[in-house]
Amino acid sequence: MRTMDYAKRGILAFLKYASLVFFAFVAVIPVVSCVITAFKTETEYQQTNVMTLPQNWLNFDNFIQAFQRANMGRAFFNSTLILICVLIGSVFIGTQLAYVLNRFKFPGNNMIRNLFLFASLLPGVAMQVSLYEIMYNLGFINSLIGYMIIMCGTDVISIYIYIQFFENIDIALDESAIMDGANYFTIFYKIHLPLLKPAIVTSCILKGVGTYNEYYMANLYLQDKKLYPTVATSLYTFVGPLGSQYNLICAGVIISLLPALILFILCQDQIYSGLTAGAVKG
């Protein structure tokens, strides 16, 4: 009986690890194939199978060429600028709104929450039809500032993360500060904002990944690809003229996902917990 049990357990463990290895393999293989191809020279790419390893793992020519062709220097500059401004903007907008919604009772409080919730139901792609005209009238086409403003806009998930966090900040803290003569602004900036730091980090990671990867609106509103490419839209350069020069394209793709990869390796756990926190109420 004992041996049977051990055998059964062994088989189960084997199946468990086999399935894990299989799905991990499935998850990485598309990206790995890109990495392999990105290191190949033109002739190597044409003559060998895609999964044959490159002869020279230090052949960075494709990366250099892709970087230049897709104007990625500019793209990284723009994306960084956008990221910084959008994060700062949305942190202020989100925390302030959450503060008011959580700390003050007033008619319309619930309605405002529902308005934000309903907004998240509206299909974003579809809205661009009419949003384009508004952006045009505001002079926000080909304007980094316009794009930043629209990216700062409605973001229900981070608002919910903040509201949840506010619920855990003891209201006695506010009251004692009021006793000491602090006004609401001071309470918010001096007491709440520092306490909110974990929530801010969480929502910044989520928002940051979203902003960095956003391409649909960037393509629509930052049409001047010479001046205003973002990292995501700079990849569009490879759509037409390069056709199937995948050694170059793959290099471009790899470059574009490097920042995400680095961020991921550095703060894996924070990303996971951020996602989980965002999903509870989302």
Binding site: M51, V125, Q268, Y272
Partner: protein, 335 residues
Amino acid sequence: MNTKAVKKRRPFKVWIKSRDGQKVLVMLSFMIIPLLLLFVFTYLPFGEMFGFSFYKMKYTGTRKFVGWDNYLKVFQRKDCFGALKLSLYYMLGSIIQLVLALYLATVLSFKVKCGKLFKGFMFFPYLINGIAIGFIFKFFYTRGFVFDTVLQWCGFNLDNLPYWLRDQRINNFSLVGTSIWRYFGQNMVLFIGAIMSVDSSLYESAMLDGANKFQQFMYIILPSIRTIVMLNVILSITGSLSAFEPPYVITSGANGTGTYFVVMHNIAHTQQKVGLASAMAIILLIIIIIATILQKLFFKYVFRDAEDDDPKAGIRRDKKLARLAKRSVRAAEGR
């Protein structure tokens, strides 16, 4: 609060320095920007879109009022409403994705060698931007490239393999596959988070009672994370209706892969039939809202005692369920 100030006949300057005045001031100054953004970039375009849907119009030039014509057209044209059929593929895909994510999350929630590494590998696709995904999978599915090579390793013959993106019998499955690939890790992470919050003493007592891993999953884990699973089911069904990215970035909707939104995108931006596209958007929105309400009602009906807004009740209920589960496990063992 304004009326209060008037009643007391305090001059504005005094009032603004009072508690009430300060309150109004802070509320106004903190809410005006988010509400303005919400209005200008969400509700104003939404209203305009609703208006557009009654006109025959392009982005520029004259507009002609046509009443409900656009809505009728959406149902009459073959390429519009019919495209919603494709969302069935995506629904099927999201079910596979959820089951897969649940399985992997359950496995990875317990002690596993290199668990973090596995988790990382499976999650990373979620962080890749849409355009890059488009390129990666165009490359992946090209004849004789990555996917075909891997299948050849497994003993398949290239001649028997279909063209993954061109063959109309298979290409929607290929696209759905990319969507599963991209999101199963993210789903898994969510479920792991939920499973981690399950009281671990439950497992121990279940083990003592001789419950096996599958029973533990069915009677302890699944009931405890029901809410988040449900939420994901709802999200994935509405998501399937509005599937857009996989076909948009990989095939641009060619060869019968154009989902409703891809068709709408083309009508709006290539053909510039703004009115028709707006009507399509409104119709889908209505369908999504109805679907959401129906699902909420359905789940409410199925789990009548589930009171989501009282978390403590949830915990109590979960504990009760776990106890019941243990009992039934014991009963099963007794038989």
